[in-house]
């Protein structure tokens, strides 16, 4: 009896540990890179190097979406030299409103695009990234949008 309770507790612990605080949506053409990243991170890539990633962090210091959007925008532009090309509102599968920042940045002589999408709840900040060379990113625009629309936070 005692060993049975221990087993259930251990299973529950492992389940919680393995469970991500979000549910990613891997679009067609991408493969998920499992087991390489922690529980709070997700990555998927295409064969020609467009990568999408999702990470979640504690909302600490606790801030509204506008706060985090501004913080990321400042960081990317000022310190990274990224050009802010567009800023738009998006929604995840549960209807949570987020903000997508579309940046451009040269890697060497080649122009790259980098999309940063932020969803904020009381407890968590979810950051969805997508990046790659501009032609590939433009070609996969629909798939990337799909992965954002079908992202689900917990």
């Amino acid at each position: 009896m005692r060993s049975r309770v221990d087993s259930i507790a251990l299973f529950a612990l492992l389940f919680v540990a393995a469970c991500r605080p979000f549910e990613p949506a891997t679009p067609p053409g991408f493969v998920e890179l499992e087991d390489r990243y922690g529980r709070t991170e997700y990555r998927a890539t295409t064969a020609d190097g467009v990568v999408i990633g999702i990470r979640s962090f504690d909302n600490d210091p606790k801030g509204e979406r506008a706060f985090w959007v501004r913080a990321l925008e400042n960081r990317m532009r000022d310190m990274g030299g990224y050009a802010l090309l567009e800023k738009r509102e998006v929604k995840d599968r549960a209807g949570l409103t987020g903000t997508q920042l579309r940046f451009g940045h040269d890697e060497g002589d080649e122009p790259y695009l980098y999309y940063l999408t932020i969803f904020v709840t009381d407890d968590r900040v979810f950051v969805l990234e997508a990046g790659g060379a501009r032609p590939q990113m433009q070609r996969l625009a629909e798939q990337i949008d799909w992965s954002v629309k079908n992202f689900l936070h917990h």
Binding site: L33, R36, R43, T45, G49, V51, G53, R55, F57, P61, A71, L72, N74, R75, M76, R77, D78, M79, G80, G81, Y82, A83, L84, L85, F103, G104, H105, D106, E107, D109, P111, Y112, Y114, L116, V127, E129, G131, G132
Partner: protein, 312 residues
């Protein structure tokens, strides 16, 4: 008797004739006055009239039929000169008597024209009569623009073409930055157009007033030229070889000073005429940011970017 009277009258008439012949051009001086010589003559005539009584002055200025309006106080001299010069635009209303503007020459009038009005008559300029020379400020505009690193190659090319289209030129260019010179009058336009080329991260515009330095250099140059002239005169009069050598050495030194001052003036003129704009395509350095920005104590936001995302 009669022949004597006739003779006397004719001699009187003949005696008056020269006066008439002088007076006639004096009246017609200003109407056609378009050349500097004519203006100078007008100035002298008016200056002479100022020595007479005010009634005479008014009489002399009553030549409206010649298109001149000198019926004002002596302050109207400048007015008369302006009219004589331009002879096209209506003259502004005369300033109130005794005001500072009375003594100040019109901005366009060369100083050689104002001098005769006081010097030949020996009149001293009053405290209020000081000649104020207004100089437009000589400003040097310099801008440093920091753009996001995106489509750098094409943006560099666009900045260069922009400079040319505004009448400027390329001063320097490398892979990450470009320096252009544009006419100062088109500086604002250049900045506005650069802003549209991409995401402008920061802009630093500086304006340096070099009016005083330019004026000082100009005076020093004038003095140096005067010294050179005196030295040349001394050299011409020198009888001893030692003296000549000494003067020539001094001349050489003064010539160097003149060259340097002329160079400096040219440099200042050039900097004021063409503004310098440097456009850099790179993120600001952490040292630069450290001076102005705080770092949010959230480590993960510093881990964002293509570098990390694409390193699988």
């Amino acid at each position: 008797m009669r022949p004597k009277v006739i003779l006397a009258l004719s001699s009187v008439i003949l005696g008056l004739l020269p006066a008439c012949s002088v007076a006639a051009p004096a009246r017609s001086y200003a109407a056609p006055a378009r050349s500097m010589g004519d203006v100078g003559m007008a100035s002298e005539s008016v200056a002479a009239s100022r020595e007479e009584s005010s009634e005479d002055a008014l009489t002399a200025s009553g030549g409206d039929e010649d298109g001149i309006s000198l019926a004002s106080t002596p302050g109207g001299v400048a007015l008369g000169l302006r009219q004589a010069e331009g002879n096209a635009a209506p003259a502004p209303p005369p300033p109130p008597p005794g005001s500072k503007k009375d003594a100040a020459p019109p901005k366009e009038a060369p100083s050689t024209q104002t001098a005769p009005s006081s010097e030949p008559t020996g009149k001293k300029l009053e405290g209020d009569g000081t000649v104020a020379v207004m100089r437009a400020p000589m400003l040097v505009y310099t801008a440093r623009v920091n753009m996001a690193v995106y489509e750098v190659k094409s943006s560099l090319g666009e900045v260069e073409s922009l400079a040319r289209s505004l009448g400027g030129f390329l001063a320097r260019r490398n892979d990450q930055s470009i320096t252009i010179r544009v006419p100062a009058t088109r500086f604002d336009e250049a900045i506005r157009r650069i802003e549209k080329l991409g995401d402008m991260l920061s802009r630093d515009v500086q304006v340096e007033d070099v009016t005083e330095e330019f004026h000082d250099t100009e005076i020093r140059l004038k003095n140096a030229r005067a010294v050179r002239e005196r030295l040349e005169q001394l050299l011409a009069k020198a009888t001893k070889v030692e003296e000549s050598i000494q003067i020539e050495k001094e001349l050489e030194r003064v010539a160097e000073t003149i060259d340097r001052l002329e160079g400096r003036m040219k440099f200042l003129r050039d900097r004021a005429a063409f503004s310098t704009i440097t456009v850099t395509f790179q993120p600001r350095s952490s040292a630069e940011l450290g001076k102005r920005r705080f770092n949010l104590p959230v480590p993960w936001i510093y881990e964002l970017g293509l570098g990390r995302l694409l390193s699988l």
